[in-house]
Symmetry: C2
């Protein structure tokens, strides 16, 4: 049936909810919608906002629920895939929120839930930089750092369904404290959060930088684009800090290359998209520190779907079992 | 046929060649033999010594070549599994040595070649600490550090068949130089070689230690048993150095737990077998530094086959394709 070829994908993020109607055979987006995510959310409010975004995306595409094969949702946190429950979303300040049941009963179509990194990896696998490759690691570098592992065409979720936490590999024993509570995690050195902290610390010590007015000192936040602009303008502080962060990422990638020996590594996320030099330095360092044979063999490429990986990948959750059974 | 139930396994190591006739249905050893490995070996000499060890093992078992299903050889280095050639053996000082062809034509049975870590992992998988588990990482800690990865019942060899090089994950960026040429590898902190170097450095700085007369200062070598004895006698220098090494191993294991999320980690090799405290500290540190969920979930256990993992695992190479196809 032609109607089976479309699904709605929802990228349920910390600051926005983005929904889109996706042709799940081609990856083409035929209608999208965005809503802000409110903090201090409650169950009813979350369901209402998800439905409102899905409705708008369907309207944009000129479709009705009966035209779609299902709805997939990617959420930033730990999920129970079987029960369709968001267990814990650190950036959403919520826990134990049923996602799939209310949506599925409202629209009368199947609904599936996945983790945001898992879902973006699925998007890259079928319609992005993972095409034609059955063994790869897809690393996303933004506020935090996460990765999805594709093993023989199937996503490797691991014993507790938490595989791919590359942001928390130990890069520096007893090093900087990470948001997870442990010390020396890669994320504490190579994420946008780490870069921003280092920049703020530099500014507080009185170092000169063009980026001074771009930092939200109250929140300690900085956009990837502002970092890229400062580098383009030749800002020494920012260039030096980003170089260190990308070198740390390269060391982390060397660890993955030596241990897991993937055919391909895909780098994506806000930092990679905005900051050209980060990718280049990370790649160079990864190959320098990896063993000769796997280090030469591995392909290191950029993600291709950008912001849309979350929507497209979430829509693919509807096909996930079918896809997984044909590696 | 009853004759199909036995195979010869050969553990071709840097200092010895050990061969055994193995019941490949039960893992039982029914005859073994040992030869010293000569340095400065040439092709004919290697083949002759392998055959002499195999002959003796068959004799011990009261068997003839027609009674066995095949012969498997595990070698310490890079191997070409299809061609049965040992490409490079760093501790053997040889390269491009055909192993399987001469043995196979001499005995008239199939011969297969594998890497020593791969083969020991296979042994633990079927007859040791890996039984009943389809996703585990088997780490061997001795002169060097290597690991085998079992993914859904099959060994994950990776894009260039070098997966599992846990000894070369980057533990300390720009840290101590490793034997591989890179800096800061886990092996440079947690292997017996690293422990011995640290002990020799301590002795050279004049630190007191019971172990002084146990070190071969010319070669810079030390046996695992001597390390264990020094700890048992309360030697502060050795205890402190081994504690650091095991803590480093724990950090490396946390990296594997967070990234790969295995069901089980098996620790084996000379250091683990001889030095009780190494395992305990590595386990404690691994769980402390891992993320809460995968860190609690993972089972961390000792290898069970000890010295025999190499022989039993090599014999299993004869069954490897059959085993791999039924995960």
């Amino acid at each position: 049936m032609a109607s089976d070829r479309f699904a709605v994908g929802v990228d349920f993020g910390g600051t926005k909810i983005a929904a889109g109607v996706v042709n799940i055979e081609t990856g083409q987006l035929v209608g999208t919608a965005r809503k802000k995510t409110r903090t201090q959310q409650e169950q009813d409010d979350i369901t209402r906002r998800l439905i409102s975004a899905i409705d708008e995306a369907l309207q944009e595409a000129g479709m009705e629920p009966k035209h779609i094969a299902g709805i997939g949702v990617g959420a930033p946190g730990q999920v129970n895939r079987e029960k369709g429950v968001l267990l814990f979303g650190p950036n959403l300040a919520v826990s134990d929120i049923p996602i799939t049941d209310p949506i599925s009963s409202y629209y009368g179509v199947p609904c599936r839930l996945g983790n945001d990194v898992e879902v973006a990896t699925l998007g890259e696998q079928y319609f992005g930089a993972g095409r034609g490759c059955s063994n790869f690691v897809c690393v996303f570098i933004g506020t935090g750092i996460g990765s999805g592992i594709i093993h023989e065409g199937k996503q490797h979720l691991g014993a507790s369904a938490t595989a791919g936490e590359i942001g928390h590999i130990v890069l520096v024993p007893n090093g900087k404290q990470c948001g997870c509570g442990a010390f020396g995690c890669l994320e504490a050195y190579a994420s946008r959060t780490a870069i921003t902290k280092a920049i703020v610390a530099g500014l507080n010590r009185g170092q000169d930088s063009l980026i001074r007015e771009k930092v939200d000192l109250a929140k300690g936040t900085l956009r990837s684009k502002a970092i890229a602009n400062a580098i383009a303008a030749g800002d020494d502080l920012v260039t030096s800090i980003v170089t260190s962060a990308a070198q740390s990422m390269g060391a982390g990638l060397a660890t993955i290359i030596n241990f897991y020996n993937p055919t391909r590594i895909i780098l994506g996320g806000g930092v990679i998209e905005a900051v050209e030099m980060y990718f280049n330095i990370a790649e160079t360092e990864a190959r320098r520190q990896a063993l000769r044979i796997p280090g030469r063999r591995v392909e290191i490429v950029r993600a291709e779907l950008g912001d849309y990986a979350g929507i497209v990948g979430a829509a693919l959750l509807v096909r996930a079992r079918e896809l997984a059974s044909t590696p």
